[in-house]
Amino acid sequence: MLGLGADRLWADMNRLLAFLFHQGVLDEQFLQLQQLQDESSPNFVSEVVNIYFHESEKLLRNLRSLLMDRELLDYKKMGIHVNQLMGSSSSIGANRVRNVCVAFRAATDQNNRAGCLRALEMLEHEYCYLKNKLHELFQIEQERALAAGVRYPLQN
């Protein structure tokens, strides 16, 4: 009976992953990340993704702060932050976040403030969605690991 819990959670995890791939939220780079996880680094994916969240939120705050400066809009600096976010997002397989970064970068290249604002709002939305879904995925993974851990009761 306990084994069924772990199996059901495994199915939930795969269903969520398939959904995220189908929606384009994640791409094959996320699979590469998973392939890098092994016994020597069993929490590699969650560790790396948590670092990504921490660094991305800093970049998003910087971008918002740069855009709110009505006197001097530093498009070059914004472009650098967007490139950084694009690089890290593509490296973890955050496909939709990466795509919005491409549009944002085009707006900074054109010195288009309205375009940058729109892109930033979309970016914040996509980032929040990604973060919620990945937290959900890691939560299921944790529960599955716990359930699998009590699968075989001790025998006298």
């Binding site: 990340l33 890098l36 990504y52 660094e55 490139n83 694009m86 690089g87 490296s91 973890i92």
Partner: protein, 132 residues
């Protein structure tokens, strides 16, 4: 051991990952280990990379990001080549062609990869490198 056979084991490859983003230092470091680079160190910007070399260390391969604070990849690559560093330097960038990328290549890169870096990129690169 047979006559003529080398007594020392083939030296394993070493690499330096230069990137201001920790997420990328972690991923690129892990990718390098996955393709058989046994010793990987990291630097957070170009200045740290140069200081590491001034301290006497050398690497078979350097993965150099372009956009970094303090000292960017262009300045760091130029600086390392001016110091006589002969390591294979592979630039890694999310930028499109033409946005300083040409200047990056002309600074002394051996090759340039777009982000995201993959196992495929690195495994073909590593087979080309002979230990210094």
């Amino acid at each position: 051991m047979e006559e003529g056979e080398s007594c020392s084991a083939r030296r394993e490859l070493t690499a330096l990952v230069v990137d201001d983003q920790e997420v990328l230092r972690r991923i690129h470091g892990r990718l390098l280990k996955d393709v058989g680079v046994s010793h990987v160190e990291a630097a957070r910007n170009g200045k740290e990379a140069i200081d590491i070399h001034r301290g006497g260390q050398s690497f078979d391969l350097i993965l150099m990001d372009l956009d970094m604070p303090v000292m960017n990849g262009i300045q760091a690559t130029r600086g390392l080549r001016a110091m006589g560093v002969r390591s294979k330097i592979a630039g890694v960038s999310a930028r499109n062609e033409g946005e300083g990328v040409k200047e990056f290549q002309e600074a002394g890169l051996d090759l340039l990869f777009p982000k995201p870096l993959t196992t495929l990129h690195l495994s073909s690169l590593v087979t080309q490198i002979k230990p210094l």
